[in-house]
Subunit: 290 residues, 2 copies
């Protein structure tokens, strides 16, 4: 299960991996990453197994899975994005899914609990990439950011007084958020039906470890449009066509031909499982005087 | 000036439009929107002049400027996105710029102050569109959302007990944020130099009222990449190429040819004012094993 669990609170501690498993917080007994490429990563454990991990409290640089000798804990081979755990974190990045983060006492982190394991809330994967690890083999690393300010670990938990903090890492002159793309459960369904191919232009963005598309609500959510979050009100679009559709540069006719102004762009790509509601199409069109 | 003002606090009240002007909170003495297409909207006043306005506290449906008879306050003509105030709000939407919101006592809103004007904090323009107004002429409307939860007006401020609240308008099953595009001051500079044309594929997204592009940091901001927010570390990209670049599907050679895996995509589009730093290009490439 992705996200918060009903009976688990942020900061709750567990004596062992078995206890984490039993509570459903982190199900595998050994692996640091729980999840698959298809579902995304449910949870990770930061337990100090990887020397390249960095922990700044609200920001964690988490090393992917694989290539480590279980005896010596050293990297002895390159890591790969096809490893199921790493692939799960790529999906979490692409889909914006939150990941439960657990810290273990064995971690070198100043944010580690004194003993056992502590559930430290939901984090987002904000970027990833590879680097040459300290042991001379390439590792993949995922930047995780605490989803809510409230979930940031208090600075007093830290055992040293070095100036490294999440604030140092967040540029202060980020003045504006230009665009936020939200992902809902039904949105994921529509994107899966279309295999991330844009219903308008046919683009399918292929990146290392996955594919990317966005769910566009035809009749926008919230006032004054008050569209519903149902598959019939959602299109699978590439980010470019999403911008154009949300700002009225393209729209749909009742026969599901895509229009740009008075020009026919072409038929919308359809899938028989995905029935589009005409009243939503008409509402979007009316918003743009069409 | 866009954003918060140094000496003004959220909730601060002003006796008159002149006082708002003198404090720099909302500079025009008559117009409801302060701003231009180029700069975006600095501030708006919600003062009840437009019958189609809706105020839910943390969400405001704000009617654009124009088409109103100053005597009767009735709409007597269609509104246009080329009106400078409306164009300013479209720029705020496209760029994600925050808008200062002032409520006036004359407003029909349950969130209006008892007298004078009150500065109610920063809002984002989350969508816009047109509809047939109550007076029978088309109006443009902008959905404004309070930027910070803390800036939401306390529900106790409301004068009636109807169940309409921002929560009713925000679908509860928005489970994930898939993608957040942040805009910095230098980012805006780079996008302006390139007139919103993608430096990789040449796409320029044209929408009613403006054009859209995104600033991509070559060497990502924050740990572990620690890129700088400077023009030499920024590309002007369309959203699709931005996704590809951030996830390593495309990268740059030292000669600034765009590569996809081992394939040459073509030369990066350049502008003599925009000098790209090679060390940033190399850092991005190393992250993707290139």
């Amino acid at each position: 299960m992705i996200g918060e669990l009903p009976d688990i609170t942020v900061g709750q501690t567990f004596p062992s991996r078995r206890a984490l498993h039993d509570a459903g917080v982190h199900r595998p007994l050994q692996a640091g990453i729980c999840g698959t490429k298809q579902t995304g990563a449910e949870s990770i454990v930061v337990s100090g197994g990887y020397k390249d991990d960095e922990d700044y409290g609200a920001v964690i640089i988490y090393t992917g899975h694989g290539g480590r000798d279980p005896e010596t804990q050293k990297q002895v081979a390159e890591q790969s994005l096809t490893d199921p755990g790493n692939a799960a974190l790529v999906t979490s990045y692409l889909e914006g899914f939150p990941v439960r983060v657990v810290r273990g006492a064995q971690s070198r982190s100043p944010y580690a609990p004194a003993e056992g394991y502590r559930y430290d809330g939901l984090f987002n994967v904000s970027s990833f990439g590879s680097k040459m690890g300290v042991d001379g083999f390439r590792v993949w690393q995922f930047r995780l950011e605490a989803k809510n300010q409230a979930e940031k670990i208090a600075d007093s938990n830290r055992e040293d007084n070095s100036p490294t903090s999440a604030e140092d890492l967040s540029p202060r002159d980020l003045v504006a958020t230009q665009r936020v793309v939200r992902n809902t459960g039904v949105a994921r369904q529509v994107k899966t039906w279309h295999l991330d191919q844009c219903q308008v232009c046919g683009t399918r963005l292929v990146v290392p470890g996955g594919t990317y598309s966005e769910a566009a609500h035809i009749q926008a959510l919230g006032a004054p449009h008050n569209g519903a979050d149902i598959v019939g009100n959602i299109l699978c679009l590439c980010p470019n066509c999403h911008v154009l559709f949300d700002a009225g540069a393209i729209y749909l006719r009742d026969d599901l031909v895509v229009m740009a102004g008075e020009t026919e762009v072409g038929p919308l790509r359809l899938d028989s499982r995905h029935q589009i509601r005409l009243e939503c199409v008409r509402s979007h069109r009316a918003r743009w005087r069409r």
